[in-house]
């Protein structure tokens, strides 16, 4: 439950805003002119706000759909991302969202129709080429599904555009809305996992590994394409044991041949994000580990990173067919 709701006066009568307000009717509502009034001021403590963030109901006015950063994607030529929310319900210490914004409040954009219009336009410019739209870059795609009704709008939208593909990235188990509709072959739900040691220490508020595997299995059984994301892999003294156990646990439930894609990458953040998040959590062991700055990215020293990725890849290849594997490429 959030601490309160900030409501942009211009979306007060938007149907989705009304539904969110109805669902959260016990929370105090504070009217604002623009979400930036609350979200952007400097004097905010992300760490304190994260204890019980507010929900900001707002309208996104520009930049609804953006070109994905280089290296982000699943091998397609045209990759875009969009965020119907800013910030995540969960509190994963390694996530770049920890230092991305000054505020920990969750912004819910309700003007899906404007996102939809841009998605249609972009897909049209690439005509018959497949175009990927990634959701879950600035948020978890499904974690707030009961409030945002994201799938209700965006899945039929993507299904109706012949060359559009969409990835939903999530750590949640909120798949009920997807299970209630016919599967769409061009909508891939990607579940992120870390080993149990990292999960216990770093993924605060995230559903258990077992529950997420179960959600994933139910989607596969219903015919939805599903992906696995082991990103970021975090170094710790038991990472080999942890990763091996995680794969065992996943593939005891999931048929690897039915996976759409699998990706793997080690922990890394841009220098700015790393500095911001390590200032927020100076007591966090993850940020006290041996790291190197290379080309603006803070990550493990090359030897350690190579060792980790080689080990994890070798373990992974025991389970999955090679063609589903997409390493996270971020080095030049």
């Amino acid at each position: 439950m959030a601490s309160c709701i900030y409501l942009e006066s211009q979306v007060r009568h938007h149907p989705l805003a009304q539904k969110i307000l109805e669902r959260l009717r016990r929370l105090p509502v504070i009217e604002i002119e623009h979400f930036g009034e609350v979200f952007n001021p400097r004097a905010q403590n992300f760490r304190l706000q994260k204890k019980k963030p507010a929900i900001i109901i707002a309208s996104k006015t520009k930049g609804h759909v953006l070109a994905a950063p280089e290296g982000y994607g699943l091998g397609g030529d045209y990759n875009y991302y969009f965020s119907h929310m800013l910030n995540c319900l969960y509190d994963c210490r390694y996530c770049f969202l920890q230092g991305m914004y000054r505020s920990a409040h969750q912004v819910l954009f309700v003007n899906y129709e404007d996102f939809g219009e841009q998605i249609r336009q972009i897909a049209a410019t690439h005509r018959q080429e497949p175009v990927w739209f990634f959701s879950g870059y600035d948020c978890d795609s499904l974690a707030n599904e009961p409030l945002t009704r994201f799938t209700e709008y965006f899945i039929p939208l993507v299904a109706s555009i012949e060359n559009a593909w969409m990835e939903l990235r999530t750590k949640s188990t909120q798949v009920r809305s997807m299970l209630s509709r016919e599967p769409v072959a061009r909508v891939v739900t990607a579940f992120s996992f870390s080993d149990r040691f990292s999960h216990d220490s770093l993924e605060h508020g995230v559903p258990s590994i077992a529950k997420r595997i179960d959600a994933m299995r139910r989607l596969i059984d219903a015919g939805w394409p599903v992906g696995l994301r082991f990103d970021p892999v975090v170094y710790h003294e038991n990472y080999e044991l942890g990763f091996s156990e995680l794969l065992e646990q996943v593939f005891a439930e999931i048929d690897a041949d039915r996976l759409h894609s699998v990706s793997l990458g080690s922990f890394r953040l841009t220098r700015d994000h790393f500095h911001r998040v390590s200032r927020l959590y100076p007591d966090e062991p993850l940020f006290a580990q041996n790291m190197r700055l290379d080309n603006g990215i803070v990550s493990y020293p090359p030897d350690r990173e190579r060792q980790m990725i080689e080990f994890c890849e070798a373990q992974l290849m025991k389970y999955i067919p090679g063609h589903t594997y997409h390493p996270c490429e971020w080095h030049d």
């Binding site: 105090p28 009034e37 001021p41 403590n45 304190l48 062991p285």
Partner: protein, 269 residues
Amino acid sequence: MLIWVAALHCEASPVIDFYRLKKSHRDKAFDLYLGDDMACIVSGVGKLASAAASAWIAARYRDEASLAWINIGTAGAARHDIGAIFLIDKIVDAETAKSYFPAPTSTPLLPGSACLTLAQPSRAYREDCLFDMEACGFISSALRFSSAELIRCIKVVSDNRHAETGRNREQVSALIRHHIESIERQATDLLALDDEVAALEFPAESWQRLLAMAHFTQTQQNRLRVLWRYLCNRNLGPEALLQELSTRKTAASMIETLERISYSDSETL
């Protein structure tokens, strides 16, 4: 450290009495009352006075690891009863239309309201908010020293369309005193947050001793600060760490030692 800011003595006195704060005879610019982990400053009327008092006391306590703030006072309201208490969730400067938002870290236990800060007293009651003469001065100043989660503004209605008690000092004190338990809960909550922020800082005394052990360049000091803050927060006592460093001759070797301890400690997540 919690700082109370009130415009008038009659607004401050319930807090001063409840916490048994003692008047400071050393400070002349403003009337100031002190306790163990809190202070109450009487600013005088108006946003300028409130901003000046807040800045002044922040400077007085500049060595504190963290400051938390409560503006306590009375306000006018069109439709609320005399004596109703509110936790202000939006403060608007009537002169500039600029808005400020104290940030809640839990669902507020007191009813919320917006508050419009006026430059002059007024009887033009507005339906949608309270009004006062200090809140925006207070928060604009407090936000320079603390984050919005550590700033609260509590107002008790003293005037409405039917009655005006704001000029009666005893009644003003009585109105605020009536809510002292709710006000105390806000203060306790805020002090806990303040302690949490302060705990992330390392002891100033150990830091000074560390710096005195070698000549650290500014870049080395930056690295040292990160390492020292981490290790002090991991319950690796500063004394033991200083002892470990005492055999190192150079700044570089000290940093290397702390890095080694830090890397080793962080392998367990």
